[in-house]
């Protein structure tokens, strides 16, 4: 999932979600980056409103996690 997390980080900054930036983030985390996965991720996210996709999922309250807290 590290590729997805990297995309989420870039989504919160003003940086573009492109192959170079994704590769940089993953590199910095010590990931042995596969170019094709980066490419695929960029392609998959091309027309996706990330904030919407994330917030749609967030509709269920955090009780489970909260209970663990």
């Amino acid at each position: 999932m590290e590729y997805v997390y990297a995309a989420l980080i870039l989504n919160e900054t003003d940086e573009e979600l492109n192959e170079d930036n994704l590769t940089n983030v993953l590199d910095a985390a010590g990931v042995d980056v596969e170019e094709s996965r980066v490419k695929a991720l960029v392609a998959a996210l091309e027309d996706v409103d990330i904030d919407e996709a994330v917030s749609e999922a967030a509709a269920v309250p955090a009780a489970g996690g909260a209970a663990g807290g």
């Binding site: 997805v4 996210l45 996709a53 749609e56 999922a57 955090a62 996690g65």
Partner: protein, 295 residues
Amino acid sequence: MSAQAERKTENLPQWKKEEVDELAQLIESYESVGVVGIAGIPSKQLQDMRRDLHGTAELRVSRNTLQVRALEAAGLGDLVEQIEGQVGLVGTNDNPFALYKELEASKTPAPINEGEVAPNDIVIPEGDTGVDPGPFVGELQSIGANARIEDGSIKVMEDSTVLEAGGEVTADLANVLNELGIEPKEVGLDLRAVVAEGTLFDPEDLDIDVEAYESDIQAAAAGARNLSINASYPTEATAPTLIAKATGEAKSLGLHAAIEDEELMPDLVSKADAQLRALAAQIDDEEALPEELQG
């Protein structure tokens, strides 16, 4: 203040002066002073109660006129209107809310006698009285209880209010209540008002709703959790939830965008399968569907 007190007491006989002085001293030596009703408490019991208060509060009972004098002299005129019936003065350095709670908790039920005034509605509860059939059923009916004989004993058919608050207890009612063991009074030290560091508190103020405070605690704790999580400020208590939240977000993005990630694949496959089945459910023509999707 003591000079004023002396002036006010100069016409009193010596023993009354001394009593007022004692009261003045009680008032002066505590942060909070209150008026306590002691009606219906036998003197032996009152002594026990006073002893139980030792260390928490000091109770002094004397003539009402003297209590009024002492209160007025001490500038506690607000409490004077509470000096009515059998009362005493109480002084405490403890929290007056806590004192009220303690006194309320120590009250005990007691029978009510003929001629007394009902402090609250007197109710005879629905149910089997356990009394054998006999004239008692008539006594119950005569005081206004819905009673009849059933299955070999006297039963009260519904909760019956036999006297409203403020009404005077008749001999008949007192008898019936006694027979049934109903004790409608709450006897104990009855804190009517307190002045704590200049502020007057009546029982309505003093009767704190512990449950409301508990739910405030819960609301405050939940609010702090929400803030911690929503603002992504991790604390020891919320870090696991933040981790779970981030994980869930990544997962939902991955599933939404059909990202080719090994971890997401089982869910993506089942998502596709669910969609297939949902679409198949819209198809009426079985010819169009494979066997496993028919029906």
